[in-house]
Amino acid sequence: MDRSTIFAGFGGQGILFAGTILARAAMTEGLEVLWIPSYGPEMRGGTASCTVIVADQPIGSPIVDRADAVVALNPPSLAKFEMAVAPGGLLVLNRSLIEALPTRSDLEIVAVPCTNLARTAGDDKLVSVVGLGALLARRPLVPIAAARGALEAVLLKKRPEILAADLAALEAGYAAALEGSLAPA
């Protein structure tokens, strides 16, 4: 098993953070994992992205030509990465910001109002964590509990005050994706 996920959105949306949470969760699950950011000069408001490869065997190529899943949190990300999803792959959309629907028909598409849910959870910046929750609802790369554990492990020592909100965001995304639909709200 060798699954690659791309998280993409604005630089401010905590994209890299969500990716590292997934990576950490996979690690604690005893899986192999590789996290790599798009480290090119990113304009703060521009598109930031990272790729997380989760596997049950040593990981070869750190670069994926086709991703099994893409979490796109803003319109530019969708434009940039829609074509990167492997046929039959998963595409998680942030319905709060993305109106236009993807053109591809060979994908499993989940449109979740990530920004709204994040705001409800307490902070727009949690949008990526919502996206992570949504991803895990459709692709159990790691148990949702492992993701929770990773959030705790990281935030408890660094920023305990925001842990609760992050956990809430994770759940919200997870829940939304379970009954998430293709129709734009």
Binding site: L16, A23, L34, I36, P37, Y39, P41, G60, I63, V154
Partner: protein
């Protein structure tokens, strides 16, 4: 347009020694940070550097950690200054790390030549990016010629170690300090941007190489004759003697310090020679090849100088062909051909400018190579020479996201390398 890696850097703090040096438990580490921490754990006394992507995290890690452990961190005014600060510190016997990336490394050519000439041990980390010139900040292996062959002026060699994983990088950093001090020479850790930027779970195998006291270090002439650390030998007779001494040392390194690993070589018909990130891509391609019935194997040089010439020559004698894969337009492949020296065809597949070949792309080249070579024992129809490319040249702007297969041109082994 700040490069947005702060959050990642922040997270990797989780891998601070407190935790890292605890039970052999896996921690998530960013390549650059793992290299920096490995140096600290290896007893690095001083770090000198200058910011450049994609290795800025080494500098930043050192900026925080070195003062914490009471050691020296200096952000120099330039790479030129950094390498010469390193020369000064190491000339007194200190254990010194310097890091940069391609354009910055170019500015260190003179300093490296001086350190080789005055036999000063320093470890230099080069996290390569795409060139030439300002190029891009994408991952690349296009500085092989520079680091392994040319760079500074004069007859000198520098041991070069090329990790293919973060865990291996951690081990090689300690080894590099040991080599540097044992042979009184600068040593280079050569990796590309992906290794520097990626995070992997590792069980950090830190190591503190034993300290020796040096009979050459300029650390104050208390109770002994003064010492001079220098590379000037104005009389040609003297400089030739010095060069012969250096060459003898290099022969000794070539005899003792060759490092490489092989995978699936025993029954391999075709062998991929690749290092660093290219070797990881090759590994995936080889797995897919074997799934398709093509018996491929991997020969991965770890020491680029000394290059594993003899082992590769031995492998070359029994295989149908060799494919060299690099993130460049073909540099290490010259050392491969020098080792193979006509024993078997050598082909090349490379991507440049920050692009990384996809496993399928490499697989396609393997298949082509198989198609145009002869069974090992069979009588050879074609000259056992090297071809520049399989395919001869890469299509312009290869679409990264579609099947590469179709784009592959006809092989051209008849086009002899020139």
């Amino acid at each position: 347009m700040a490069i947005d890696v702060q959050s990642a850097t922040g997270l990797a703090e989780a891998a601070m020694p407190s935790e890292a040096t605890a039970l052999p438990e896996r921690v998530l580490m960013k390549g650059n940070e793992a290299i920096a921490e490995a140096a600290i754990q290896a007893g690095c006394d001083a770090y000198f550097g200058y910011p450049i992507t994609p290795q800025a995290e080494i500098l930043e890690w050192m900026a925080r950690r070195m003062p914490e452990v009471g050691r020296v961190f200096v952000q120099a005014e330039s790479e030129l200054a950094a390498i010469n600060m390193a020369l000064g510190a190491a000339a007194t016997g200190a254990r010194v790390l310097v890091s940069s990336s391609s354009p910055g490394i170019s500015l260190m050519a003179e300093g490296m030549s001086y350190m080789a000439g005055s036999e000063v041990p320093v470890v230099l980390v080069d996290i390569m990016r795409g060139g030439p010139g300002l190029g891009s900040i994408g991952p690349s292996q296009s500085d092989y010629f520079q680091i392994v062959k040319g760079h500074g002026h004069g007859d000198y060699r520098t041991p070069v170690l090329a990790p293919a994983s973060i865990a291996e990088a951690i081990e090689l950093v300690a080894d590099a300090f040991e080599l540097a001090e044992r042979y009184r020479t600068p040593v280079v850790i050569l990796a590309d941007g992906t290794l520097g930027q990626a995070m992997e779970p590792v069980v950090p195998a830190y190591r503190l190489p034993p300290r020796q006291d040096f009979d050459w270090a300029a650390n104050g002439a208390a109770g002994r004759r003064p010492r001079v650390v220098r590379s000037l030998h104005l009389k040609p007779e003297d400089l030739e003697a010095h060069n012969e001494h250096l060459q003898a040392k290099y022969r000794a390194i070539e005899a003792a310090e060759v490092r490489w690993t092989g995978e699936l070589l025993d029954d391999a018909e075709l062998v991929i020679v690749a290092y660093g990130t290219a070797a990881r891509v090759a590994r995936t391609a080889i797995r897919r090849a074997r799934e398709g019935g093509l018996r491929a194997g991997l020969f991965r040089p770890i020491s680029l100088w000394p290059f594993p010439t003899a082992p590769l020559a031995a492998v070359a004698n029994r295989v149908r062909g060799i494919l060299t894969v690099e993130l460049s337009s073909g540099q290490m492949v010259e050392d491969v051909r020098l080792a193979v020296e006509g024993r078997t065809p050598v082909a090349f597949h490379g991507r440049t400018g920050g692009m990384v070949p996809s496993p399928d792309e490499v697989l396609a080249s393997l298949r082509r190579l198989w198609a145009v070579t002869d069974p090992v024992d069979g009588e050879r129809r074609r000259p056992r020479r090297s071809a520049r490319w399989v395919p001869p040249q890469h299509p312009q702007h290869p679409p990264r996201l579609v099947e590469e297969e179709s784009d592959v041109r006809e092989p051209a082994l008849q086009e002899v390398w020139r």
